[in-house]
């Protein structure tokens, strides 16, 4: 009955799996380390405020200028537009699917949405470029439809599946008793949905929105293909813009390893990483708070 070789083997497996599990932490630290290591050199040429608030991004000028504000603005404008589209429509669809739609419609719609989520972003970009942009150009009579508006629509469509599926889960998790209690008090289903179900699921809906925004701000290929790529601060939503992600993708090919431009692109990577890191932490805190609340009840 004594512990022997088998016990040692058991512990070995446990520690081995523990080491495997630490890889994720290691990867995250490595990503952080490499962004800083490759990008740090930039800041001996440009100050951090000069980088973030500088209004001119001219990597080929003499001397080159690295003001990332046009790119940051580009990302914010496009992400805001996409967020408005994805969150409002996404939550609407989720409410319809969770509360009203018959089971068969719901299952089909969920399968379709899952399929849409699986379409690669370069395909969305390609379709945006070849199908949607010409359509918008004709309809709105624009000189070119490769602008923040079109990019917002494409990104909004891409973020939609994330918002819908997480929102739907959140609405689904609202206990049936809440609905029944409200209906038993004489409320209509419509009132019950908006006064009881949606408010009860609000932290889940918030998380869905945050993740949708995170998806949109990190998206690269589609915006690179449809946003127009001008490194100027836009004055209207029909101006062409370039996002942080698109700039990295578009310019990395031309840089010299270790050069100033190369470092500047890693600097953009740091900005992007910080934004998404912030979004993830906030989402996690929102989630943790609700789940601990649920655990206590």
């Amino acid at each position: 009955m004594d512990k022997g070789l088998a016990g040692i083997y058991e512990n070995l497996v446990k520690y081995l799996l523990g080491i495997v599990a630490v890889t994720s932490v290691l990867i995250l630290l490595l990503i952080f380390y490499f962004l800083i290591r490759e990008g740090a050199g930039l800041f001996s040429h440009v100050s951090l405020p000069g980088f973030i608030f500088g209004t001119e991004w001219l990597p080929d000028a003499e001397p080159p200028r690295f003001g990332a504000l046009p790119l940051i603005t580009g990302s914010l404008v496009v992400t805001t537009g996409a967020g408005i589209i994805a969150i409002s429509i996404g939550i609407g669809i989720a409410v319809f699917l969770a509360e009203v739609a018959p089971r068969s419609v719901r299952e089909v719609a969920k399968a379709v949405i899952e399929l849409l989520a699986g379409i690669p972003s370069v395909v969305y970009g390609f379709l945006g470029l070849t199908v949607l942009a010409p359509l918008i150009k004709d309809m709105l009579n624009l000189p070119s439809a490769l602008c923040a508006f079109t990019a917002s629509i494409v990104l909004g469509i891409m973020a939609l599946p994330t918002v819908v599926s997480i929102s739907e889960d959140a609405l689904d998790a609202v206990p049936r008793e809440y609905r029944e209690a409200s209906l038993a008090l004489g409320a209509t289903k419509w009132e019950t949905t908006w006064r009881i179900v949606v408010p009860s699921a609000r932290s889940g809906l918030l998380a869905a929105s945050m993740l949708g925004l995170g998806r949109a701000i990190g998206e690269t290929m589609a915006v690179l293909m449809v946003a127009g790529n001008a490194t100027l601060i836009p004055h209207s939503i029909f101006d062409p813009v370039r996002t942080i992600t698109a700039d990295i993708a578009a310019e990395m090919g031309e840089t010299v390893h270790g050069g100033l431009h190369y470092q500047a692109l890693f600097g953009l990577g740091i900005v992007l990483f910080s934004i998404t890191f912030f979004i993830n932490m906030v989402t996690d805190i929102v989630f943790a708070r609700t789940s601990s609340k649920r655990g206590a009840s």
């Binding site: 009955m1 004594d2 512990k3 022997g4 088998a6 016990g7």
Partner: protein, 251 residues
């Protein structure tokens, strides 16, 4: 009679909650000991302490001793895995693995190193026969165990335990999910098994305790109130609380 197992001042805690208070209880060899008491009285906790299955739940702490053949099973040198081979367990809900009937019964022998097909076949046959299930399943050994009825599943689970050749079998309300006919079959089986095994059974059902057991322990709020032969407990309880419980449950 000799004691197969014995607890000495056994206390069990879940985090800050004390579930058992200093229980001393002997378990006679080749006999059936029933543990009775209302829900949450600690009888299941006591049962799980006998093969250290309580350790599966995080935050459990044990004080006191549990002796198996005179040796404390909570001695740090004791391997709980080897212990559970000797002290098997049948759970409340039948829980066959999602595999064939044969593989279910052969699972234990296989993990303990038996590989030869003929040996395994022999063990499976013997165990299923001992669990009074062989005749019902001999033509479908390689079909999924999930296709069996609840009563058959529970006897399969017992066969699975027997295949490991334990010395003690712990049963945690084994009949609570079964219909009356399956329950009767199970009780017959328990009767036969006690010739070769020591059995401890937790039950809610007074009639069942009276029918199958030789000794009975009555638990209340984590304490052992009374222990005696089953006949004595049911006909002449010494404690008022035991009598109230038994008469209340019978009435």
């Amino acid at each position: 009679m000799e004691n197969k197992m014995e607890t000495r001042k056994l206390s069990v805690y879940y985090k800050n909650f004390q579930a058992l208070y200093s229980v001393d209880l002997p378990i006679q060899k080749n006999a059936v000991t029933a543990l009775i008491g209302p829900s949450g009285c600690g009888k299941s906790t006591f049962l799980r302490a006998l093969n250290r299955m309580n350790e599966v739940i995080e935050g459990t702490r044990v004080e006191g001793e549990v002796l198996l053949d005179g040796k404390n099973i909570y001695d740090p040198r004791v391997d709980p895995v080897a212990l559970r081979k000797k002290v098997g367990m049948v759970f409340q809900k039948p829980n066959p693995f999602p595999m064939s009937i044969f593989d279910n019964v052969a699972y234990g022998p296989r993990i303990h190193g038996i590989k030869k097909k003929t040996d395994l076949e022999q063990i499976v046959h013997k165990s299923l026969a001992a669990a009074a299930l062989w005749d019902e399943v001999k033509d479908r050994l390689y079909k999924s165990a999930l296709g069996l009825s609840g009563g058959q599943q529970q006897r399969l689970v017992i066969a699975r335990v027997l295949a490991v050749e334990p010395e003690v079998i712990l049963m945690d309300e084994p009949a609570s999910a079964l219909d009356p006919i399956s329950t009767a079959k199970l009780e017959d089986l328990i009767h036969q098994l006690k010739q070769n095994y020591t059995i401890v059974i937790v039950t809610h059902n007074m009639q069942q305790a009276a029918r199958v057991s030789d000794y009975t322990g009555f638990f209340l709020n984590g304490e052992l109130i009374e222990y005696n032969t089953t006949t004595a407990i049911f006909t002449a309880p010494r404690e008022k609380r035991t009598e109230d419980y038994i008469t209340g449950r019978f009435g």
